[in-house]
């Protein structure tokens, strides 16, 4: 279980805080962000009062949860990709600020990572920040990137202990130095972990990935390393940023908040990915939404262009 030993105070009612200073808000809620109470079902406002008793112990292989009823272990997807859409709307619906929505989103992500680890899903790719998102207001971008940095630092130990490998893909040229350092460190330390690979896409888009792969290939052609005629699908696959994993092709893509589009998240890799569009906003998409997505996936007939005999 990805919990963090929180210092006192350990109880904090998210809904009760008022619009005080941003600093105070950040400090207070950060302390309590990552403790999970048993009644947080992932739906509705789950940030109720918590206590130290409600923290769960870190999970080990021996405590692996059995799959919920209806899900078959042999049909579980190896690689799940998620577009975590709807944080802003979630916050707006509750009269909160956008950054509160993003924090709620991180909480929802923790739950999904935990479930993936328990249910034998080997790769989880999440779309944290797209190349198209650079147009957003600077204050939101700064918050998002610093939230990401803080989350990496604070979750690092727990993830390492739970045998989770973290990889970050995307264009790092616009990211702040401090974040790049943390990313490199986390990737290095967790690179030999095998239980679950968590790929976080930051500053990433499917088209960007293909263009950078193409640049790499063009350079190799120019250097005489390969011929133009040798460029094929396998070569491009090797040059894409998803070459950090053994299973670069997602079996299932989940998008929350009811939007029916892919929005430039992964491109090449989505050739035969099953798409699942959930109506809930990301912070509300918890265990039950995930189970629904997995059940839908398991019922589908995948033909990959051929014929099902």
């Amino acid at each position: 279980m990805l919990s963090l030993r929180v210092p006192a105070p350990t109880s904090f009612d998210f809904r009760r805080f008022n619009a005080g200073g941003l600093d105070r808000r950040w400090r207070l809620s950060r302390d309590c962000l990552f403790s999970l109470s048993p009644d947080f079902a992932g739906r509705g406002i789950g940030f109720g009062v918590r206590s130290a008793k409600s923290e769960m112990a870190p999970f080990t292989a021996a405590e692996e949860e059995t799959l919920p009823e209806g899900l078959q272990p042999e049909l579980m997807p190896k690689h799940v990709a998620v577009i975590m859409d709807g944080n802003g709307r979630w916050a707006k619906n509750r009269g909160l600020q956008p950054w509160d929505g993003h924090r709620a989103g991180v909480e929802a992500l923790r739950e999904i990572v935990e479930l993936c680890g328990k249910w034998g899903i080997q790769v989880l790719t999440v779309f944290a920040f797209s190349t198209d998102n650079w147009i957003r207001p600077k204050i939101e971008i700064d918050f998002l990137l610093s939230l990401f940095e803080r989350t990496l630092k604070s979750e690092f130990d727990t993830l390492a202990k739970n045998n989770v490998r973290i990889s970050v893909i995307g264009d790092s040229s616009k990211l702040p130095e401090s974040l790049i350092e943390v990313i490199n460190e986390v990737e290095e330390v967790t690179k030999n972990n095998t239980r679950l690979q968590l790929i976080v896409a930051v500053g990433y888009s499917g088209k960007y990935d293909v263009v950078q792969a193409c640049r790499g290939i063009a350079k190799r052609v120019k250097d005489g390393e390969i011929e133009v005629g040798e460029i094929d699908e396998r070569l491009i696959e090797q040059e894409l940023e998803t070459n950090c994993t053994e299973f670069p092709y997602p079996d299932l893509l989940i998008r929350t908040s009811g939007e029916l589009r892919v929005s430039n998240f992964l491109l090449w890799q989505l050739a035969y990915t099953e798409l699942f569009f959930a109506q809930e906003l990301w912070p509300d998409f918890g265990r039950s939404g995930f189970i629904e997505a997995l059940m839908s996936f398991q019922q589908r007939q995948r033909r990959f262009g051929g014929r099902k005999s």
Binding site: G206, K207, I236, W268, L270, A271, T273, Q301, G305
Partner: protein
């Protein structure tokens, strides 16, 4: 569109009435935004044949072609300028050779029929473009496709892109090869490859990206079809099989597109 066989008087009156009703419906639809480019993933032909217990190997696909003619007519009446049809994917070559051959023969038959229609002036304003790895098709088909593209080149009312032997993976490989060839000849400096260089080398690069993708047959996946071009498109899936796709399904899809437009515009400004 394609010339119908001799019809009785009653049929003519009935068709005229239906045409009038459609005109009315489309007039109402046109108050809102109409997608500039709709692409169709025509899935479900074989299941249709199985459902109706038709044994012949490409019966479902023949029914599918009839559906194509109706859908194209509706799109023309609504005023959608670009339509793409996913006729045959490169990965479909994995199917039984007999089925592939039947499909190819059927498509060739229809292309030749369309050429005749074009020559006799029945295809008013319709341009047909073939996108895909045409070199992997047989000689006769390729020649017919080339001829149809040439004959209809000047038309502008409705542009139909037919994807044959198409897959996004092959399209990207092709685009990467082409852009490497172009860029590596540009002197000794570092290769400066941009997004636009790759986009120029895509198969149907003159056609704008689809706004709406309609997939029949209930599957919620892209099947290696125009993944590059549809990254911002609305993906609409319907459980109806392709030969069952009718006027109301199309109207519903466009209404859905219109409903989501406001939110999309807002999001596009943000993103």
């Amino acid at each position: 569109m394609i010339a119908r066989q001799e019809e009785g008087e009653f049929s003519q009156i009935f068709n005229a009435l239906m045409g009038l009703m459609r005109r009315f419906i489309f007039r109402v639809l046109r108050v809102g935004p109409i997608p500039n480019h709709i692409s169709f993933i025509m899935d479900g032909n074989r299941r249709f044949a199985k459902k109706h217990n038709i044994k012949s190997i490409n019966a479902g696909h023949r029914a599918g072609f009839i559906s194509v003619t109706y859908v194209l007519q509706y799109c023309k009446e609504i005023g959608v300028p670009y339509v793409t049809l996913y006729a045959f994917g490169f990965d479909n070559f994995k199917r039984e050779p007999e089925e592939v051959k039947c499909l190819m023969d059927l498509m060739l038959e229809k292309v030749e029929l369309t050429i005749e229609q074009a020559i006799s002036g029945n295809l008013k304003g319709i341009r047909v473009i073939f996108a895909g790895d045409l070199n992997s098709l047989n000689e006769r088909f390729r020649a017919a496709a080339q001829k149809l593209m040439e004959i209809t080149e000047g038309n502008r009312d409705l542009i139909i892109v037919v994807c044959v032997a198409y897959s996004t993976s092959r399209e990207i490989v092709h685009a990467v090869r082409e852009s490497c060839v172009r860029k590596c000849d540009d002197g000794d400096g570092d290769v400066a490859l941009e997004l636009s260089d790759i986009e120029e080398c895509m198969y149907a690069s003159t056609v704008p990206d689809p706004d709406l993708v309609i997939r029949t047959g209930g599957g919620d996946r892209l099947s290696n079809f125009m993944i590059w071009q549809t990254s911002k498109s609305l993906l609409h899936t319907t459980a109806a099989l392709w030969p069952e796709l009718g006027l109301w399904h199309l109207v519903w899809a466009i209404l859905k597109f219109q409903r989501m437009q406001d939110y999309l515009q807002k999001k596009q400004k943000l993103d």
